[in-house]
Point group: C2
Chain length 408, copies 2
C-alpha cells in the first residue's frame, strides 16, 4: 500500500460544497487502497479577506503577525475537510503546519522549509487515518509560526511527498492540467499528457499559474512525480516527471505569454567593470524585478543597457534611475510600454539548434516585430508589441504543431 499526497487549492475548497466534493475524492483514493495525505489551502478568497483586515489596521503590518493571521485560513480548511471525511465514515485527522512537523527558516512571509519531522504523520497513517495538513505554513525551531510565501501550499505538498516517499503528488486545481498555451486566449490550446520538470519550471516562471515554480523545483530535486488535475472532474491531468520528452518528437511543448511589459533603455553608460552590477543592484535594492537584460556596446567608452520590467514597476524604476543619474553616469533614459513577452518552451530544443531561428521566421512571416530576445537551453522569449501577442502565440502554436494531438 503506497502513500499518495493530494493538494487542493483555494478554489477547490472555496465553499462547503466544494469541501464535501474534495472529501469524496479523498475517500475514493482511500478505497483505491492508498494511504492518503492531503494538503489544503485557505478557502477561496479568505486569505484576501484577512489581508484586508490587516491593511485596515496598518499599511505595513509586522510580518510575524501577518503570518499569525494568515495561517488561520488553512487551519479552518483542514478542520472542515476532516469533518467532511469523517461524515463519509473514514477516519481522518487534521494537523497544522507545526503539528505536521514542517520546520522552516525564520523568514516570516517567505520562509523556506528546512526539515520535515514526519513521525506524527507516519504514526497516523499507520493507524489507518487520512492525514489532512495545513499548507503554506510551518514553524521555526524557536516555535514561531511562519508562512512559505507564494505557492506555499504546492510546496508543502511536494515536500511532504518527498519526505514520505509518496508514489505520487496530485495537485488539484480549477483547471484540468497543463496546457500547451492559455486556452482562454488560444482556441487550439490542448492539455498535455506529460511535461518534464524543466519545461514545467519554465512554464511556471513564465506565468502559467497552475503550479508555483518553487514547488516544481522541489519536485525536480526530490524526483517527486506530480499530476496536475481538476478537482471537479475524473479526467486524468498532466503528469510532471523527469525526461518525458526525450523519446518523443515534439520540440516545443508549450507557449507562455504575458502582457503589461515595459522596456527601459539606459544609454551611454560608462563601459567599465561594475556598470552592469551597479545598475541592477540598485534596482534590486529598490525591489524592482527585472526580466530580460540586453547590453550593447555603443562605442569603446560607452554602453547601452536595456531591460524589461512590469508596467507596475515602471514609475519606480524611472524614479530610482533618475535619482542616481550622477552615480550611474548615463546620458539618457528611454522607455517603451505596451509590450508583451511570448515564450516557446521545450526540452527538445536543446538538440535542435534551429528552433529559435524558426520562431523568429514565424513571427516575421506574421509581421510581428521583435523588440528583445532572451534564450535559455529550453526556452526562447521574445518581446513584441502587446497588440501582436495573441496573433503571435496562435501562429507559433500552429507552426510548432501544438494543436495536433498526434504529436505528443
Amino acid at each position: 500500500m503506497g502513500i499518495i499526497v493530494q493538494k487542493y487549492g483555494g478554489t477547490s475548497v472555496g465553499s462547503i460544497e466544494k469541501i464535501k466534493n474534495a472529501a469524496n475524492r479523498v475517500v475514493q483514493a482511500v478505497e483505491n487502497g492508498n494511504k492518503v495525505v492531503v494538503v489544503v489551502s485557505a478557502m477561496g478568497k479568505s486569505t484576501d479577506t484577512l489581508v484586508n483586515m490587516a491593511n485596515e489596521i496598518s499599511n505595513k503590518p509586522a510580518k510575524r503577525e501577518l503570518d499569525m493571521l494568515l495561517t488561520t485560513g488553512e487551519q479552518i480548511t483542514i478542520s472542515l475537510l476532516t469533518m467532511a471525511i469523517g461524515e463519509l465514515g473514514v477516519e481522518a485527522v487534521s494537523l497544522t503546519g507545526w503539528q505536521a512537523g514542517i520546520i522552516t527558516e525564520a523568514d516570516h512571509g517567505n520562509a523556506r522549509i528546512k526539515d520535515i519531522q514526519k513521525e506524527k504523520i507516519v504514526t497516523y497513517l499507520n493507524e489507518g487515518k487520512v492525514v489532512i495538513v495545513a499548507g503554506f505554513q510551518g514553524i521555526t525551531e524557536m516555535g514561531e509560526i511562519t508562512t512559505l510565501g507564494r505557492g506555499g501550499s504546492d510546496t508543502t505538498a511536494v515536500a511532504l511527498a518527498a519526505a514520505l516517499s509518496a508514489k505520487k503528488c496530485f495537485i488539484y486545481t480549477d483547471v484540468p492540467g497543463v496546457f500547451t498555451t492559455d486556452p482562454r486566449y488560444v482556441n487550439g490550446a490542448r492539455k498535455l499528457h506529460s511535461i518534464s520538470y524543466d519545461e514545467m519550471l519554465e512554464m511556471a516562471n513564465l506565468g502559467a499559474g497552475v503550479l508555483h515554480p518553487r514547488a516544481v523545483e522541489f519536485a525536480k530535486n526530490y524526483n517527486v512525480t506530480l499530476e496536475v488535475a481538476s478537482s471537479m472532474t475524473e479526467e486524468t491531468g498532466t503528469l510532471i516527471e523527469e525526461d518525458v520528452s526525450m523519446e518523443q518528437n515534439l520540440i516545443v511543448r508549450g507557449i507562455a505569454f504575458e502582457n503589461d511589459v515595459t522596456k527601459i533603455t539606459v544609454s551611454q553608460l560608462p563601459n567599465q567593470i561594475g556598470t552592469l552590477s551597479g545598475l541592477f543592484s540598485l534596482l534590486s535594492k529598490n525591489s524592482i524585478n527585472v526580466d530580460i537584460i540586453i547590453q550593447n556596446e555603443t562605442g569603446s567608452k560607452t554602453v547601452d543597457i536595456s531591460f524589461s520590467t512590469s508596467r507596475s514597476s515602471l514609475e519606480d524604476a524611472l524614479a530610482v534611475l533618475k535619482a542616481h543619474k550622477e552615480t550611474l553616469g548615463y546620458e539618457a533614459i528611454r522607455h517603451e510600454g505596451d509590450l508583451a513577452k511570448v515564450s516557446i518552451i521545450g526540452s527538445g530544443m536543446i538538440s535542435n539548434p534551429g528552433v529559435a531561428a524558426k520562431m523568429f521566421a514565424i513571427l516575421a512571416e506574421n509581421d510581428v516585430t521583435i523588440k528583445m530576445v532572451s534564450t535559455s537551453e529550453i526556452k526562447v522569449s521574445a518581446l513584441v508589441d502587446e497588440e501582436n501577442m495573441v496573433p503571435a502565440v496562435e501562429a507559433l502554436h500552429r507552426a510548432f504543431q501544438l494543436d495536433d494531438e498526434e504529436n505528443e
Copy 2:
C-alpha cells in the same frame, strides 16, 4: 513595575474600530507604568460563523476538529490587536494558547487548564513587550489543540494573572460592571463598587452573564483581584476580591433572576435508600440539568420528589421518567411551567439568620406565591410564577435597600 492582565471579550474586539480602541487602552496601561498581558476572545460573532460552517458539514462534528476550527477565531484577534498596538508605537507580540504555554487536559471542547508554562511570556515582558494571548485555548501534553469551553477566555485571563502574580486582572466587556440586579428589567439597578468571590460566584451561577463562574472560582482559589469594567468608557468597574462585605452593612448585595423554569413532581416513590440517587442519576445520564430539589415524605412507605429544570428540558425529562416508571416505582408525575427563579445573594446573610424570612415576608406582602425554595450560606432562591418575576425583584431590590448608593 507590576504586571496587569487585561481581557477583552468578543464584543470589545468585534470590529476593526473596536480592536483599535482596545489597542489604545492597552497602550494607556503601558504608559501608566504596567507590564501588560492581554487576553482576547474571537471577534464578535465569528465563533458562531465557524460553528455554523461545521454544522453544514456534520451535525456531530468531531470535537478535536471543532477545537481546531474554533481556535482560529482568537488567533485572528491576537494578530490584529498586536498590529494595532504596533501602529501606536508600542512593541507587542501575539501568542496562541500553545505558544503561551497553556497546558490543558485532553478533554476537547471543555478542557481544564493543568499548568501554565510561563517562561515565554515572562521573557517577552522582560524585553518590554506587551504580550497578547489567545483566550479560550490551550494544548495537551501530546500537542493537541484544545478549547476551554464556555467562559474560556475569562479563565485564561485569570489563570495567567495567577501564574504571573499579576496585581490585577481586568475583564473588559460591554457592560460597566456588576449590577445589584439586571438593569434591563429593574430601574433602580445600581453598579456595585465591589463584591466578594463567593457572591460573584452565586451571581454568575444564577445567570449574571458578565463573568463565567469557572473564572470566578479560579480567581478565588488563587486570590486574583478582578475588575469587571466596560471597554468603551473610562469609568471604574466592579472589584471582585476577598471579604469585601464583612466590614460593611449590606446584607444582600445582589438579586439574580431567570425565567423559563419548570417544576416537575414525581409522586409516591418508594421511601427507601437509593430512591433519590436512582432518580437523579437517571436524569443526569440523560443530560437533564436539575436545579432545586425538594423531597417530601408522604407516608412511611412513599415519598414525593419535586425538582426544577429549564423549560427546554421538560419534554426530555418527562420522556425519560415515563420510560422508567417501572424501575423507579412512582405513582404519577405532575409538572408546572411558566415559573421563574428569584435569588438574593450576599455574604452578609451568613451572620443574619433572618434574611430568608424577610425575603418570604416581602414576597408575601406583594402577593407573590413561592413554589419552591432553595438556600445556600449566601443565597436564597425562590421559585415564583413568571408574571411575578420582575415585580418580586423590584420589591426585594427596594426592601433590601439596593438602590441606595449610601449602603455600599
